[in-house]
């Protein structure tokens, strides 16, 4: 019953996605367009399966850059959010710098970063962190700010230190905001890792796409896109699951 209704809820999405894929298939096979311009999805799938070993070998470094980069970004977002939350001067000094850092076109920065730091994992982690850092920082700061002042006053009246108030009130308040930011960030993380590989790497989905493209194999490009999109969806789903676990009280519904 519940699983049936869950199926019912997923039905429109399934129909929409199936419709898109079938339309693409029909157009690609019937319109006479060259498969080097637009390969049909069936071919993409078959090629993805056929090249699964190479694809997998190229997925690992990307996944690595994604996860390490994301972990770095998470840590940095947390540390800076705390610093900025505790010091107004730091807030005023750092926030504009971070906003400016978001306006730099990664495509121009990435090659320079690679030149300075080489092709190792390091610069890739850095680039992933640069891209995914900001949405989480903003979410955390907004979360801290939305703490009820009454609650903070109450805790101080009980003798709580500033750090204690932060841990007891501000941090938990920020969690729902944080997870919203996390969902945005994680969507960008894989894309950013692929991106950083474009600027120079020995292996990875980005390099695989680049080579496939240069060797006239859009089907393999799309196969790699399929892998990266699945990876992103997987990570996305994971954060949703973690959020459910971590924030049991948000699912009670808003009834006062």
């Amino acid at each position: 019953m519940s699983s049936l209704s869950r199926l019912g809820r997923a039905l429109p999405a399934v129909i929409a996605i199936a419709g898109l894929v079938l339309g693409w298939e029909a157009y690609a096979t019937l319109s006479g367009i060259s498969p080097t311009a637009l390969p049909p999805p069936s071919r993409v799938l078959m090629q993805a399966f056929e090249h699964r070993a190479v694809l997998w070998a190229n997925t690992l470094p990307t996944l690595q850059a994604t996860l390490f980069g994301f972990a770095a970004s998470l840590t940095a977002a947390f540390v800076f959010s705390v610093l900025i939350d505790f010091s107004l001067t730091l807030r005023r000094a750092l926030l504009p710098v971070f906003i400016i850092s978001q306006t730099l076109p990664m495509i121009a920065i990435a090659p320079l970063v690679v030149l300075w730091f080489g092709f190792g994992l390091g610069p890739k982690i850095g680039l992933v962190a640069l891209v995914t850092f900001f949405p989480m920082l903003v979410a955390l700061l907004q979360g801290y700010r939305s703490t009820e002042p009454e609650l903070e006053e109450l805790l101080s009246s009980m003798g709580a230190s500033r750090w204690r108030v932060f841990l007891t009130a501000r941090l938990p308040t920020s969690l729902p905001y944080f997870f919203a930011g996390l969902r945005v960030s994680i969507t960008y993380a894989v894309v950013a890792a692929i991106f950083s590989e474009y600027a120079g790497a020995a292996r990875g989905l980005g390099i695989y796409m680049l080579n496939a493209k240069n060797n006239f194999r859009p089907d393999l490009v799309l196969a790699a896109v399929l892998v990266s999109a699945s990876l992103t969806l997987l990570l996305f789903g994971l954060t949703v699951l973690i959020e459910r676990r971590a924030l049991p009280w948000t699912r009670l519904g808003e009834r006062r």
Partner: protein
């Protein structure tokens, strides 16, 4: 008649004929309205094969790879009459004395499967194993070489090579021909067979005007250098370098062959390099499997549009 040409790289002396023809009004005289598309992340061969551009400056590398994979490309003009490609590395790398010393080093590449095959052939011809690590860099390859982020790469001698000779860093190089690779036209101008068949007059008008542009550049290198510098939006500031590169292209008989040929594609060279690629199993079809039968390379190019 509108014609679009896609470049294989940022403007350089390989493209000199196009810019000279444009600046002298040769295209206009032939009734053509030519747009030169700048180099971008999408390969010129891909743009031509998909009809975004009618013509493209094609590296032999890309041309042979894409043609084998089923792209409808035909080479209609040989920009250089003899190989301009080299394997380069910094001069102070004492340990690199011959190609076999490249084994185990890092190569900064351009992303086509062809390069690895070419380099490992050269290394093997020198008695090495032919195993090295590739880092795909594209346009960053030369920065990376200069900054020692990679150990070696491929260059177009008449452009990057000349620049390095003038401005450093000092480089040394291996010529492909010294290690068993047949001589070739490193760079072509090409179009799709379908388009050529449908527009033979336009094709002839464009290729012959372009050829006249190259011929003019060979005769008037000072003027040609000025034209290229002026057309580059301020990126080519070193006019003397451009001139020196042109000088090399002329005196080295790259643009105008020892036999006086300009733009003509040599049947023997196409066949030799084609067979070489085929034997090395570098020619792969759309599924990535090496071609089983040697293709008829005479259908891969045409001198029919060069004009009189």
């Amino acid at each position: 008649e509108e014609v679009t040409v896609a470049l294989d790289w940022t403007p350089n002396t390989n493209h000199i004929g196009l810019y000279v023809a444009e600046a002298l009004g040769l295209y206009e005289k032939a009734g053509l309205d030519v747009t030169i598309l700048p180099y971008s992340d999408t390969a010129s061969g891909t743009l031509v094969a998909n009809g975004i551009a009618q013509f493209g400056v094609l590296s032999a590398v890309g041309f042979f790879t894409q043609k084998a994979a089923g792209a409808d490309l035909v080479a209609t003009y040989g920009v250089v009459q003899t190989e301009t490609g080299r394997v380069v590395f910094l001069a102070d790398r004492e340990e690199i004395q011959s190609p076999k010393d490249l084994d185990g080093l890092v190569y900064g590449g351009f992303g086509s499967a062809w390069e690895e095959a070419l380099i490992s052939t050269i290394i093997k011809a020198d008695g090495g194993e032919g195993s090295f690590e590739t880092v795909t860099l594209g346009t960053s390859a030369y920065d990376a070489l200069a900054n020692r982020a990679v150990d070696f790469t491929l260059e177009v001698y008449t452009w990057e090579g000349v620049k390095a000779e003038r401005d450093g860093p000092a480089q040394r190089a291996f010529r492909y021909a010294d290690f068993g690779v047949p001589d070739q036209h490193t760079t072509f101008i090409g179009a799709t067979g379908a388009w050529l068949e449908a527009n033979p007059e336009t094709a002839t008008a464009f290729i012959s005007a372009t050829r006249a542009g190259y011929a003019h550049a060979v005769e008037n290198p000072d003027e040609a250098a000025d034209i290229l510098v002026a057309a580059s939006d301020g990126f080519l500031t070193d006019r003397d370098f451009v001139r020196a590169s042109l000088e090399e292209l002329i005196t080295g008989n790259y643009l105008k062959g020892v036999d006086g040929a300009i733009g003509t594609i040599d049947a023997g060279k196409i066949n030799a390099i084609g067979s070489f690629f085929f034997d090395a199993k570098m020619l792969r079809d759309g599924n990535g499997t090496p071609l089983a039968d040697k293709p008829d390379f005479s259908a891969w190019y045409s001198n029919a549009y060069l004009g009189e």
